[in-house]
């Protein structure tokens, strides 16, 4: 019995949960920005930036997932994962999984407001953009926790 399943489960949790967060966030932001664009299509660039902001959570989740696959050896076809390491991967993935899920949704909401604000006055764009990135720090912290664990796991003995 080894921990391959747990490692793959960890990769899946990280990618999927964070992905859901980003998908929801980007989805609601995209809906709003399309509403704005139907009135004034010249704002596409600014709308695109604001719409994409909640997309990073999915990326972080994917990176953690990918690093788990690399460091557990699943990608090279020779996985060497002990039970303890498997649990460590799965545990590490929870941070970015849930961190990404909820911060993605929250950032999506902030992005929607940012889009509405920019639609009223384009000068507000930079303020909106910065405010939306305030949410990002929590996804980042989760990502870094996951990351620091994942790169250390191969050194775990037992």
């Amino acid at each position: 019995m080894n921990g391959i399943f747990l490692a793959i489960l960890g990769a899946a949790i990280a990618t999927v949960l964070a992905g859901i967060g980003s998908a929801k966030g980007v989805g609601s932001a995209a809906q709003t920005s399309m509403g704005v664009l139907s009135e004034d299509s010249s704002m596409f660039g600014k709308m695109l930036v604001l719409t994409l902001l909640p997309g990073t959570q999915g990326l972080y989740g994917f990176i953690v997932g990918f690093l788990i696959l690399v460091s557990s050896g699943v990608l090279s076809g020779a996985p060497t994962v002990t039970m303890a390491q498997g649990f460590a991967y799965a545990g590490a993935s929870l941070a970015i999984g849930f961190g990404g899920l909820f911060s993605g949704i929250a950032q999506g909401k902030a992005a929607v407001s940012g889009i509405a604000m920019t639609a009223k006055d384009e000068k507000n764009f930079s303020k909106g953009m910065v405010s939306v990135t305030l949410v990002e720090i929590y996804a980042l912290l989760a990502f870094i926790v996951s990351l620091l664990v994942v790169i250390q796991v191969p050194n775990f003995v037992a």
């Binding site: 990073t56 990176i63 990918f66 930079s126 953009m129 910065v130 990002e136 912290l141 990351l147 620091l148």
Partner: protein, 671 residues
Amino acid sequence: MAKLKMKTVRIIALRQDRKRLLEHLQDNGLVQLTKSEKSREGFRRVDVSSQMQVFERNVELTEQALKILDNIRPEKAGMLASFKGRREIDPDEIGVIASNAKEVIETCSRIVELDKECSDNNAEQVRIKTQLAQLESWQKLDIPLNTTDTKSTAVFIGSLPELYTEERLKTALAAENPKLEFEFEIEFCESNTTNLVVFAPISQKEMAEEALRALGFARPMSPTSKVPKVKAEKLREKSKRLSEENKKAQEEIASFDKMREQIKYTQDYFRFRSDKYNVINNIDHSKHVFIIEGYVPEEDCEKLEALCTRAATCVVEFGDAGEDAPVKLKNNKLAEPAQGILTMYSPPGKTDLDPTPILAFFFYFFFGMMFSDAGYGLLLILGTALLIKIFKPDKKMRNNLKLFQYCGVSTMLWGLVFGSIFGDAPAAIAKLITGNEYVMAHSISNLGDPTPAILPWPIIDPQKDALVLMIISIAFGLVHILVGMGCKFVVCFRQKDYAGAFFDTGLWMLMLIGFAVLAAGMVFAPILMTIGAVIAIACAVGLILTQGRGKKGIVGKAIGGVASLYDITSYISDLLSYSRLLALGLTTGVMAQVFNMLATMMGTNVLGIVFMIVIFLLGHLINIGLNALGAYVHTMRLQYVEMFSKFYEGGGKEFEPFSLNSKYIKIQEDK
């Protein structure tokens, strides 16, 4: 390097020179004119708003014409056309544009008129369509819809709101009035209407009418004097004629396509004139002279004076501008592109110093660290250089491109530090060809690694040395924040707010440095730990003693002082925020690595190579798009939130000189 010193200026000139002087001022764009609501005593305003309205109307007319033209014959513009600068024209060409203006405006009126014709025709077409739909159900009828009674017979043409067969109708009418004699013909029926013609002897007209009304009989909405079939034919002909007319009108509009450029230039010409008249509206005139007031940067004063005395008989007076003067920034070539980032936040306020050079440096530095790929950096440099070379964009766009170019340089350097050239593309390709494992370079934590490396120098590998890089990131953050606080220190010092400078800013700076020394001590030498701790504690004591100084009473002062230590949390969260430098740097590298892995998956056969090239291009394009956006947004955030919050007030007004404010053309300066 800083905010330019502003002067107020007052120009008093003879009225006869007004046109010439204003034109010169507008051409050179040196002065921002101030507007006042009321004229001073002894002076009055000249009302030229009627002329101004004519010009504004012309601008609108040309805008409208261009829009119509664009709808019918869209302008051929490449994807990159938005980079294109305004066309430079010779000052003499303005004269040509002015002399052609009348003709161009006539053309525009014609375009608008044709467009109106088209939309009228379209409205008519809709009306015809509904009429035709109504007539459709009367196709079988061979008398006009408004046929009236003859001498002996009453005629009823109309519809009943129900589906009737001949049998049912006969029964229904008979049931209404058994005495009624009638004859009828059903023309058309569907689920809830029946169109029919009923004949009855004229003597029974009223009876018939009553019987029919009981069944819900209604006459047609728009009876015509023609047989329905003929009428329909006529309408169809008319519709055809209208669409032909439309086609002709559109062709005529399209034939003005070659005038497009001229229309644009004329639009700008009228824009200039309306701006000028707007100024005339706002200046004070006496019988012989007029007065212009405004702001001018000190360095342009002499130029302005020379210009005015050359253009008109006038007196030019300069004075010191107060604190409300507009702000014009001047920076060297390296820092100038970041001015846009600064003004996007807010131009510097009264007491601010111009942070552009600092902003520029950290902007490039952090962007590079987050985007961190030598290949992408090189693409940025070359791409922006090419855009500048080909399109010769306007100053603003040019500065934006330059910003990314400098960011590209930093990106490239950081890419080399992190050992990333299109991710690990060289290593991946080397592995594909030779079959042996390669790494990009040996990371500092693993220098003895026997795997052959592509790059000869040791690198910081964000994946393997994440912890080291995180500490480095936060250290950069500390420097960034300290620089921001340093600015605050200088600002306070300049305003002679020494308490603010030393106690509020200086102590915190020292305290942060103390913590940094303490942290460094944990790694390097225990003695540093003691030193750091002493500094930090001393500063904390200092803060407790000084921060409550605004409060009343000993207790209030003590509480205020201790409470201020709570600010430490905000500094910690600011510092942690810089961990995004690691996170985004890592993201770029790992994403690139993923795409490289996908690209080299299919091996070295022909199909595999094609697959590789496609995936490689596509993947890296996506990666550049996503991560350049991320790097841009997050470096901006670090500047705005983490650094500016330490010292920058903003709230200034930008210097907006009275100049040739155009959309399409730019007048060449005399050389």
